[in-house]
Symmetry: C2
Subunit: 416 residues, 2 copies
DNA sequence: GAGGGAAACTTAACGAGCTTGAGTAAGGGG
DNA sequence: CCCCTTACTCAAGCTCGTTAAGTTTCCCTC
């Protein structure tokens, strides 16, 4: 029998994967190879076999198919003691996809390469009182214009990813309620309609999840990391990617970060809850407080009577806070404390090690929120859980959802 | 001290089967069939094909193997217009497994049938200053006694599930810190040692996750539901089961329900955080408040100087609250408000529709916590998200972890 | 109490996808 | 030039699940 010593060392004894280990039935060879190619720079077949756990023979045949499909290219060789390795990578000139971000005010369309590079961009805005049918028509025309103007071949485009705010299955808009799609159209109906009209496969996804997948794909996040994209737009959401695949929940409503309860006695929220993060410290709440305070209002140059846009107004407050406006700074810092607390709950419940701040809200304010979140999550994570939580800011927070939508479609389509 | 009593296996009532749509590449036929058989009462092969999405041919061959393995039995037939259907179910006299709950004070061992019925039970307690090697020996002897005493054939037993408190990778015990295993042994080392000594496969799992899997298996939770088991022992944890498989997180630290932040300005927590649920409203916090208040202390008959056990003291406070002790009731209700708020965060982040209260803490207090949680999660869920959150209490909260550990091992072993 | 019909299984052939094991290609060093 | 090393490929075969064509077992009718 073995001798045991009772000092519970915290060093990396491998956690038993227990029942989580599946002998088979994981993602197929093609999917695994694509994920490895996405995350690494140029890699050889031997390395791919090591990374994915597939046999070299299997890698060889699957890679041949990827080469034939024009998804992958050979880009060089590394000398070895024997035959040199052939390096492979995703072909930047391979397939493309369109991403559409259906914002509350403007619609952003991008055409991206399969490596996440933006090839063309187009912005339009909804005319007043646009009907659902008109919306679909406008989007179809935008996509047409985008591809025409880019000079890219249309056969290369695999489809369209479509981003909308709010949860998947919208409820009847409660007052001050969830963002939803313009025209109040069900995301699924809009998706089907656009697919019908354009003839391209269309995938619909909520903003936070799309941003997370985009980050995963474009910023080459390691598949081993479990991470969340905190998304601030009109509200607050979290897109969660675990072991390389998006976690949406049974009804596609997982990651409702804005409805983490941060104050048991807090104000009522439109969702029916009380003390939700969004109601206490979301962008709309910050703007409301700024509007109520003459000093803050002046600092942020908020017109009392002008047309309101939560994202725009919040950005103005954040800018004022950064520029030294004391009243605005106090408002944003108060908000950041709550957001940081909710982020800690998120990290502890999902066992995350990476948070990415993204979306238009954080684009303007990440320098204020980032440190607060880092401070809060760092303290407990390292001390009690032996994990390091990295907090980063998306490199292009404003276009993240559109690029993410395109990435989502690519990930879905390339795998087959 | 060792007590042994044998009970007959208690098999539950039939539950109507619900069709589950799965895409390809999921778990294999055998696993899917076992899950369907677990969740339903007697089912025919045709129904199994409909439930699992497998073809009838595939069901036929896989079922034959399960029959040969002695896992499944034919139990009757239903008349049809043609050949009657042969009904199948898991054989209650088929395989068995041992579950060990390594509590802070007492160790509970159970022998269960593969349908979750408890065939025999044994309780022992650690002698003072027990070394790690002695612990392993004691557990091995307990298992031996349990199986001997039960009269069950040892070849039927597939292995041992082992439950410990706290996260998978224990940190050096902080003051008032995480529970961890007795003797401070790393769960993985303990698992390996017990496996070595007994010769049976051993699976180690944290208490909340084990309780969740046990609930899933024994209470026949529908695989389509996403649910969490809220576990109250010395601390608070959540075991999360999504689409039929436990969600553990990258480091096995997911579901740290006790470290959801419920008060940004709250007291410091041993984890390094601030305002964590456990620090604000966990059982230890409730007990500490009761001890500090002479009235509550009298109501709960807490000895000022006696040996302290968080679970025992908390149960006493909960009993006093139920019996009408006003001071204790106020303490527990204050705690329940926070737990309910954290539960709402959990539900919103994971998109859950079922919460099960379990563990020794809730065994004594579910009648006080249950309604508070139901009230809070019900309001927002139905109004904004179009989902109904069911809150139930485990039928045998005190033995849930041990039974869950056995279920976990069964689920893992039967699938191969 | 045969013969048909209906529905529940069963069997056989096949195919996708991956593995094993034995090649073949491509470079370097003596 | 030969030989060694290492990268990659080919061929056979295995596992699992599918499709399609039986086979069994009941009830019902004549």
């Amino acid at each position: 029998m073995t001798t045991l010593d009772s000092t519970g060392g915290a060093e990396g004894a491998a956690v038993p994967a227990a029942a989580a280990v599946r002998r088979r039935g994981g993602p197929g060879a093609r999917e695994r190879l694509l994920d490895a190619l996405r995350a690494s720079g140029p890699v050889s077949r031997v390395e791919l076999a090591a990374i994915t756990g597939l046999t070299e023979a299997s890698v060889s045949t699957t890679v041949r198919r990827l080469l034939q499909d024009g998804v992958v290219v050979e880009v060089g060789r590394t000398p070895t003691a024997g035959k040199p390795r052939t390096l492979l990578q995703l072909d930047p000139g391979g397939r493309t996809a369109v991403g559409i971000d259906l914002g509350p005010v403007t619609t952003t369309c991008v055409l991206t390469s399969q490596t996440g590079g933006v090839l063309a961009r187009l912005t339009s805005s909804a005319p007043p009182r646009e009907s659902a049918a008109q919306l679909v028509d406008r989007l179809a025309r935008d996509v047409e214009t985008l591809i025409e103007g880019s000079g890219e071949r249309r056969e290369r485009c695999l489809g369209i990813g479509l981003v909308y705010g709010g949860p998947r299955r919208g409820s009847a808009a409660a007052p001050g309620g969830p963002p939803g799609t313009p025209g109040g159209l069900e995301p699924e109906l809009l998706r089907a309609a656009l697919q019908e009209v354009t003839g391209w496969p269309v995938l619909a996804e909520n903003d936070a999840t799309a941003a997370a997948v985009g980050e995963y794909w474009v910023a080459r996040v390691d598949a081993a990391r479990s991470f969340a994209a905190l998304y601030m737009g009109t509200g607050l959401g979290a897109g969660i990617v675990l072991a390389g695949s998006a976690h949406r929940g049974a009804r596609g409503q997982a990651g409702e970060f804005g409805h983490v309860v941060v104050d048991v006695d807090g104000p009522p929220c439109w969702c029916g809850g009380q003390g939700c993060l969004e109601a206490v410290a979301g962008p709309a709440a910050v703007v409301a407080r700024a509007l109520a305070d003459p000093v803050a209002r002046a600092e942020a140059h908020l017109e009392a009577g002008g047309p309101r846009s939560t994202v725009g107004d919040f950005s103005a407050v954040a800018r004022a806070a950064r520029a030294g406006g004391g009243a605005c700074r106090a408002l944003v810092e108060a908000s950041a404390r709550y957001v940081a607390a909710a982020a800690e709950s998120l990290v502890n419940l999902f066992d995350l090690d990476l948070l990415v701040l993204t979306g238009p809200g954080f684009a303007a304010s990440s320098s204020l929120y980032g440190p607060a979140i880092t401070r809060r999550t760092g303290a407990a994570a390292s001390r009690a859980w032996g994990r390091a939580v990295t907090v980063t800011v998306s490199s292009a927070a404003a276009t993240a959802p559109a690029v993410g939508a395109a990435a989502l479609l690519l990930q879905d389509r390339l795998a087959r």
